[in-house]
Symmetry: C2
């Protein structure tokens, strides 16, 4: 909990929340998907995702595209602005992480890397 808050504090300049950033990152990694798929992936209820997405669309970071094959669905994808913001955030985060990583030993770094893999598996990626 405290660690999560510490990370949140490192969110910084762009003014996006972790949830919003996570949506952008998911779309970047897995490509365009529907609101429902996004909700399932982020482990959130559909209405919550609707709202988060609406905010991101309003900010011009996502765009909606109707699916002609099933007109109930809406495909979401990153705009150019969204992709760029994600890239710059990643850079900033990398910088912070690099700084942190310099505070620990190579051994410890390896332990963290292994732990990340295990946790990812437990989270059911």
């Amino acid at each position: 909990m405290r660690l999560a808050r510490r990370l949140r504090a490192e969110r910084g300049d762009h003014g996006l929340t972790l949830s919003q950033l996570s949506v952008l990152a998911t779309l970047h990694r897995h490509g365009a998907m529907t609101s429902g798929e996004l909700a399932a992936h982020e482990r959130v209820q559909p209405p919550s995702m609707t709202r988060t997405v609406a905010n991101l669309v309003a900010d011009g970071l996502l765009e909606r595209k109707d699916n002609p094959e099933d007109r109930r669905q809406v495909l979401l994808r990153l705009t150019k602005a969204g992709t760029e913001l994600l890239a710059s955030d990643r850079a900033r985060r990398e910088a912070w992480l690099t700084c942190r990583m310099s505070e620990i030993t190579a051994d410890e770094r390896q332990t963290l890397a292994r732990a990340a893999v295990i946790l990812d598996r437990l989270a059911g990626s």
Copy 2:
């Protein structure tokens, strides 16, 4: 992010949020403290803590005690109900964790334990 949500989903029966639970756990681990100390420890601004604490007091899990030496301060401590709820939550969480831990090898468990220590240090516990 997704892992955090997965954990949150495991919150279950008692109806408390992670923030509330974290406050109870902190008070249990470090003993009674003031609202300000609690806020600093949870890395949250004082007004946020005021409200969280107010909810917990309303639920009968915390109690306020004026400090006669400095009457600006309010000491917060767990009630019996708060202590019991914390214990039962811990038991439930342990059960879940034990179940998870049985899914991985002893080697992996050790990796996670080591990682936890390192992260704690980075978080500035």
